[in-house]
C-alpha cells in the first residue's frame, strides 16, 4: 500500500512540474532560512549552559532609586563580597571578575593573554574542566596562574606547563607566577572568556580599594546553596546594606522624597546565570537585544508559514484535478483516514525533499551567513540531541500544517460529486483567499519594517554627535606602560598634520579592541545624592575632539591647578543646580574636593540608544589612560593614519589592536542593528519571493480553469487589456486588503523597536504607502504574466478543447 502511495506521489510530482518546483523550492529556501535563524536564536539562548552549578550562580546588581529613575550598577565594593559570605545565610562561593589583556613573558618571548582576574572560588563555581591540576587548590595562592590548553601550547609548546614560572606585567611591574593548572579551552558559547586566570589580589587597584565600601570596581558573582532562591537572598541582604551603607541610603532617601517613602532606595538583585548573555544589566551583555532571538524565531515562523500557505493552496488546488482518483478510491473501499494518510504522505514526501535540499543549502550557505551576519554557528550543533529532536519535531509540525489540511479537505469530499466531476476549483475560495491575504500581510509588514529600520540606521549614521568624528584617530593603548605613551606623544609632535593629541580612559564608539565601559560615581552635594559618569582624560581633550566649550576652558598645561579641576557637561551643570558653575567646588565622595574649570556642550559620548548622562571629566590619574586620540588635518587622512600607526607599532611592538577613525568606531556601535537590518532585509526579500511564487502558481491554476470563459469573452469582443484586468482584479483586491491589515501592525512593531533609541526617526505614513505599492506591483506583475498569456491565447483553441 505504502509503495503504491509513494509511486503515485512520485509520478504526480513529475507530472506537475510547476507545482512541485514551487513547493520544493519555496519550502526548501524557507526551511533553510528558518534553520539558520532558529539555530542563531538557539545559540544565543544556550550561552553559558554548560556550568554545572548554573542554576545557583548569580551576578549581584546594585539598584538605586535616584528619585528620577532606578539606576542599575553592576560593579560592587570589595568588602561587600566577604560581608555577604559571612553575614548572609546560604551564600556558598563568591568571585569578582576583571577582564584584561595582559602582557606575559616566558623566557625571551612576550605575549598578550586574555586574562580574567578572579577570586579563589572561581573554579569551584564555574565549570571550566582542568586537564591538569586540581580545581580546589589551583587558585589557592596569590602567585598561581591557570592557563587554557591553547595558551599553554603558545607559551610552552608541547612541554609540561604545570609548575613552570611565567612573568606577568601588572601596573608596569613584572611579577613571577607559577602555572598551577591547565584548563580545557573555553567553549564558544561561553560569556566568560579567558586564556589565563590569575588572582584578583594581584591587580594594582585591589589593595587601594580593598576596604572601600564606596568604590565599586568589579562585577561580583555568587553561588547560592541549593534551595536558596534569589528572592530570599535579596531579602536577607537588606539588613547588611543598612549596616554598611547607611549614609548613602539617607542621601538617596532625601533625593527620592515621596516616591520611596515605604520602599528601599538601595538594594541588591541577583541576576541568574541564564540571563547573563541577554540581560542588558549583565556584565556580559553584548548589546544583543533580548528580543532579537525571538524576532528570529518570529521571522522563521513567518517565512515557513508563507511557504506552508503556498503548499496548502497548491495542494488543495491540485487535488481538485485528482478528484476522479479520490472518488474512485472511495468507491473501492478506501476509508477517509486512508485517503488522509495518502495525501498527507505526499506532502510529507515533498517536505522531505525540501528538508534534504534545505540542509544541503544551509551547509553551503553557513560560512557566508556567519560572515555576513556576524554569527558563529557551527555544524556541530547537530551533535546536540535537542537540536536534532527540535528540527525533526518542527519538521513534522510543518508537514502536518502544510499537508494535513489539504489532505483532510480532500478526504472529506463527497464521493458522488467528485465522481461526476462536479467539483472544480472555484473562481475563489474563502480559505485560499484568506491564506493569500495572510501571506501578503507578512510580506508587507516585513517590507515596511525594513524601510523604517533602514531610515533609523541612516539617521544614526548621519546624526551629529557633538564631537569631531572624521578627523580624530583613536589608538587603543593595550596596557602600554606610561613611558611608551610619553614617547608616542613626542613622536607625534613631529608630524605636520597632527593638530593636537589627547588621551582618555574610554574610547568613543567601539574601537577595534571591542571594549567599552563606563564609570559611574555617586556622592552627596548639598544634601542631595548626585550620580554622574566620570571620565579620566588627558590635557586638550575638548580641543582635540572639538567639543564646544560653553564656559570656562579645557584642561591645559598652562595652568598648574588642573589636577583638582574638572570639566563637566551641561547635564551635570543642571544637576548641580548652579547658574554659573565655573569655579564652584564639590567633593566626590572621600576624594579631594574638585573645582569646575569648564562646561562643555552635551555630546553623545555613549550610543544614541541612551540619553546623555551627566559627565565629569577629571585628569588626576595619568595611569588610567587607555586610548590616545589624535586630531589630524590633512587631505589624505588614510595615509596619515597609516604613518601614525607605524610609529605606534614601532614604539609598542606588542600592540594588538589597530587604530581607527572615530567615525568607524561610532558605526561599530550599531553593528547589532546593521546585522539585524540585514537579516530583516533578507527575510523580507525571501518572504516576498515565496509569496509571489505561490501567487504565480495559483494564477496558473485559475487561468487554466477559466480558459473557456476567456475564450467566450474574446469571441464576444472583449479587449485584451479588459481581460487582463478582469483576471488580475481578484488577486489585486486580496493584496490591497493585506496592505490595509499590515500597515498598522508594522507601525506598531516599529514604534516599539524605535523605543530602544533615545534618538530616533519619526515613522512616516508614506513608508506604508510605498511598501503597499511595492506589494501590489509585485503581485500584479506575477499575476499578469499569466493573465496576459491567457488573454492572448487564441479562443479557438480553448473552445475547441471542450
Amino acid at each position: 500500500m505504502l509503495v503504491s502511495y509513494l509511486r503515485i506521489a512520485w509520478r504526480n510530482l513529475r507530472k506537475q512540474k510547476v507545482f512541485a518546483a514551487v513547493n520544493i523550492i519555496g519550502m526548501s529556501t524557507a526551511l533553510c532560512a528558518a534553520l539558520l535563524l532558529s539555530l542563531t536564536a538557539y545559540r544565543e539562548w544556550t550561552y553559558d549552559n554548560f556550568h554545572e552549578n548554573g542554576a545557583h550562580i548569580y551576578e549581584v546588581l546594585g539598584k538605586e532609586n535616584t528619585g528620577i529613575n532606578i539606576k542599575t550598577g553592576s560593579s560592587m565594593a570589595q568588602p561587600l563580597a566577604e560581608a555577604i559570605q559571612k553575614e548572609v545565610p546560604g551564600v556558598k562561593h563568591f568571585s569578582f571578575m576583571a577582564a584584561d589583556n595582559l602582557p606575559v613573558r616566558y623566557g625571551a618571548n612576550h605575549y598578550y593573554l586574555g586574562t580574567q582576574m578572579v577570586n579563589a572560588d572561581f573554579l569551584k563555581m564555574f565549570t571550566f574542566p582542568l586537564l591538569k591540576g586540581n580545581k580546589n587548590n589551583a587558585l589557592q595562592e596569590l602567585n598561581q596562574v591557570v592557563l587554557t590548553q591553547k595558551a599553554a601550547t603558545t607559551l610552552f609548546g608541547n612541554s609540561e606547563a604545570v609548575g613552570k614560572t611565567i612573568e606577568l606585567n601588572l601596573g608596569g611591574k613584572w611579577r613571577p607566577l607559577i602555572v598551577s593548572a591547565v584548563a580545557v579551552d573555553i567553549p564558544d558559547n561561553s560569556d566568560i572568556n579567558f586564556e589565563m586566570l590569575v588572582r584578583l589580589e594581584n591587580e594594582p587597584e585591589y589593595a587601594v580599594t580593598k576596604n572601600e565600601w564606596n568604590a565599586s570596581n568589579f562585577p561580583l558573582f555568587i553561588q547560592l546553596d541549593p534551595g536558596v532562591t534569589a528572592a530570599s537572598f535579596e531579602k536577607n541582604i537588606i539588613p547588611l546594606l543598612h549596616k554598611y551603607y547607611n549614609g548613602k541610603i539617607e542621601d538617596l532617601r532625601k533625593n527620592a522624597g515621596a516616591t520611596a517613602k515605604n520602599s528601599e532606595v538601595f538594594w541588591l538583585e541577583a541576576l541568574p546565570l541564564r540571563d547573563f548573555h541577554l540581560d542588558e544589566n549583565s556584565h556580559f551583555y553584548s548589546g544583543l537585544n533580548k528580543f532579537y532571538p525571538w524576532l528570529m524565531i518570529i521571522l522563521s515562523v513567518l517565512i515557513v508559514g508563507i511557504a506552508c500557505i503556498n503548499f496548502i493552496n497548491l495542494s488543495i488546488a491540485r487535488s481538485f484535478g485528482r478528484s476522479g482518483e479520490i472518488g474512485l478510491r472511495k468507491s473501492l473501499g478506501a476509508q477517509d483516514r486512508q485517503l488522509l494518510f495518502q495525501f498527507w504522505m505526499e506532502a510529507f514526501l515533498l517536505c522531505c525533499f525540501a528538508l534534504v535540499l534545505s540542509l544541503l543549502l544551509m551547509i553551503s550557505l553557513l560560512p557566508y551567513y556567519n560572515q555576513v551576519f556576524g554569527h558563529s554557528i557551527a555544524l556541530h550543533v547537530f551533535r546536540n540531541i535537542n537540536v536534532v529532536a527540535g528540527v525533526v519535531l518542527g519538521f513534522f509540525v510543518i508537514t502536518l500544517l502544510a499537508g494535513g489540511y489539504p489532505a483532510w479537505k480532500v478526504a472529506r469530499l463527497n464521493i458522488l460529486e467528485v465522481l461526476k466531476g462536479k467539483l472544480g476549483l472555484g473562481k475563489s475560495s474563502g480559505v485560499r483567499n484568506g491564506l493569500i491575504i495572510l501571506q501578503f500581510v507578512a510580506a508587507v509588514v516585513l517590507i515596511s519594517c525594513t524601510a523604517v529600520i533602514w531610515q533609523q540606521l541612516k539617521f544614526i549614521q548621519a546624526a551629529p554627535l557633538g564631537y569631531n568624528t572624521s578627523q580624530v584617530i583613536s589608538i587603543p593603548l593595550d596596557n602600554a606602560p606610561p613611558s611608551v605613551i610619553a614617547a608616542m606623544r613626542n613622536r607625534l609632535a613631529e608630524f605636520q598634520e597632527v593638530k593636537s593629541v589627547t588621551g582618555s580612559m574610554l574610547n568613543l564608539g567601539l574601537g577595534k579592541d571591542g571594549s567599552s565601559g563606563n564609570w559611574t560615581r555617586g556622592f552627596s552635594y548639598k544634601d542631595r545624592h548626585i550620580t554622574t559618569q566620570c571620565l579620566v582624560v588627558d590635557y586638550n581633550y575638548a580641543t582635540t575632539l572639538d567639543l564646544k566649550i560653553l564656559a570656562g576652558r579645557d584642561f591645559s598645561k598652562d595652568y598648574g591647578t588642573d589636577s583638582t579641576g574638572v570639566v563637566i557637561n551641561e547635564k551635570m551643570a543642571k544637576q548641580l543646580g548652579v547658574a554659573d558653575p565655573v569655579g564652584m567646588e564639590f567633593k566626590m565622595g572621600d576624594d579631594q574636593p574638585v573645582h569646575v574649570i569648564g562646561v562643555v556642550k552635551d555630546y553623545h559620548y555613549e550610543s544614541l540608544r541612551k540619553k546623555i548622562d551627566p559627565l565629569v571629566m577629571v585628569i588626576n590619574e595619568p595611569s588610567a589612560l587607555y586610548y590616545v586620540f589624535v586630531k589630524v588635518e590633512t587631505p589624505n587622512p588614510v595615509a596619515a593614519m597609516e604613518r601614525i600607526e607605524k610609529v605606534w607599532k614601532n614604539l609598542n611592538p606588542l600592540a594588538e589592536n589597530d587604530a581607527s577613525f572615530l567615525d568607524e568606531n561610532t558605526q561599530r556601535l550599531y553593528q547589532q542593528e546593521q546585522r539585524f537590518s540585514k537579516i530583516f532585509v533578507s527575510g523580507a526579500v525571501l518572504a516576498v519571493i515565496i509569496s509571489a511564487m505561490g501567487l504565480f502558481a495559483i494564477a496558473v491554476l485559475v487561468m487554466a480553469q477559466r480558459r473557456k470563459e476567456i475564450g467566450i469573452r474574446k469571441v464576444l469582443g472583449a479587449s485584451i487589456s479588459g481581460i487582463v484586468l478582469l483576471l488580475s482584479k481578484d488577486f489585486l483586491r486580496l493584496v490591497l486588503v493585506a496592505v490595509v491589515i499590515a500597515a498598522p501592525a508594522a507601525w506598531y512593531f516599529m514604534y516599539r523597536w524605535l523605543q530602544n533609541f533615545e534618538y530616533h526617526v519619526a515613522i512616516h505614513w508614506w513608508v506604508f504607502v510605498i511598501a503597499g505599492l511595492l506589494a501590489v506591483v509585485i503581485a500584479f506583475l506575477t499575476v499578469s504574466m499569466q493573465s496576459v498569456k491567457a488573454a492572448l491565447a487564441n479562443p479557438v483553441n480553448s473552445l475547441k478543447r471542450d
Binding site: M1, S4, R7, I8, R11, N12, K15, G324, E325, G327, L328, R329, K330, S331, L332, G333, A334, Q335, D336, Q338, I415, L416, L419, G421
Partner: protein
C-alpha cells in the same frame, strides 16, 4: 440479494420536495443480470448509486444480503465496498498515474491481501482479459475499450458478489461495446456474479435477463 423497500430520494425545493425516486420497491436475486433503462433524468443513476451505497436514500429501507445497509456507518460501508460490490463507470475512472497492473491491484491493496496472492490474482485477471502485454502501460496509452476492460478487470479482481455498471459502454463505439457486454454476460453466467447495469441501449439490455424501466422516479410495470 438486494431488496429495496419504499425507497425515495428527494431534495428540498422552496417549501416542497422534488422527488428523484419515489417509493421504489425492488428485489434483485443472486445471479441475475438486470438492466435499468429510462430517459435522462428519470433517476436510474441515483437508483444505482443507492444500491452501491454511494448515496443514502431519504426514505425507505435497503437490505443487502438480508442486512439493513441504508443507515450504515462508514466503516461497515467500506467493508462492503471492499468485498461485495464492484463498480464500473462510464468514464472508466482509472488512476492516470498508475499502470494497468497497478490499477487492477489497487482494490486488493485496500483489502489487505498479501503481496504474493495479490500478484497471482492480478496475473489471473490479466491473463483472462488478454492484457498481459499491456500491464505496464498507463491508461492514456490505451483505447477507450481497453480502458473499460481494465475498469472491469479492476471491478472483478476483488471477487465481488455484485457489479454495478453505470452506462459502461456509453463512451465506446458499438464493436467495443459488444465485447464489453459479452464479457459481462460471461461473468454473469460463469462466475455467477450479479450484474446491474444502467443503459440507454436496447441492444445492451438484451444481454441481461431482466429489464427494469424507470420513469420520473418510479418503476414502470
Amino acid at each position: 440479494m438486494i431488496q429495496l423497500q419504499k425507497i425515495s430520494r428527494h431534495y428540498p425545493v422552496g417549501f416542497g420536495k422534488n422527488y428523484i425516486l419515489k417509493d421504489i420497491d425492488l428485489t434483485i436475486n443472486e445471479g441475475e443480470f438486470v438492466s435499468i433503462m429510462g430517459p435522462s433524468g428519470s433517476g436510474k443513476s441515483t437508483l444505482l448509486h443507492i444500491m452501491g451505497l454511494l448515496e443514502e436514500p431519504s426514505e425507505g429501507q435497503y437490505l443487502f444480503e438480508g442486512e439493513r445497509v441504508d443507515k450504515m456507518n462508514e466503516k461497515k460501508r467500506t467493508q462492503l465496498h471492499r468485498g461485495s460490490i464492484g463498480f464500473v463507470f462510464q468514464a472508466y475512472h482509472l488512476i492516470d498515474e498508475l499502470t494497468v497492473y497497478e490499477n487492477i491491484e489497487t482494490p486488493l491493496l485496500y483489502k489487505n491481501i498479501p503481496a504474493s496472492e495479490r500478484k497471482s490474482r492480478v496475473a489471473d485477471v490479466l491473463d483472462r482479459f488478454n492484457m498481459v502485454a499491456k500491464k505496464d502501460l498507463f491508461p492514456n496509452q490505451l483505447s477507450g475499450g481497453q480502458q473499460q476492460l481494465v475498469g472491469i478487470a479492476r471491478a472483478i479482481v476483488a471477487e465481488p458478489r455484485v457489479i454495478l455498471a453505470d452506462e459502461p459502454t456509453g463512451n465506446l463505439h458499438s464493436d467495443q461495446a459488444k465485447v464489453i457486454m459479452q464479457l459481462f454476460k460471461h461473468l454473469n453466467e460463469q462466475d455467477k456474479i450479479t450484474i446491474i447495469q444502467v443503459t440507454h441501449s436496447d441492444v445492451n439490455a438484451t444481454y441481461g435477463n431482466r429489464v427494469i424501466q424507470i420513469r420520473d422516479g418510479q418503476i414502470q410495470p
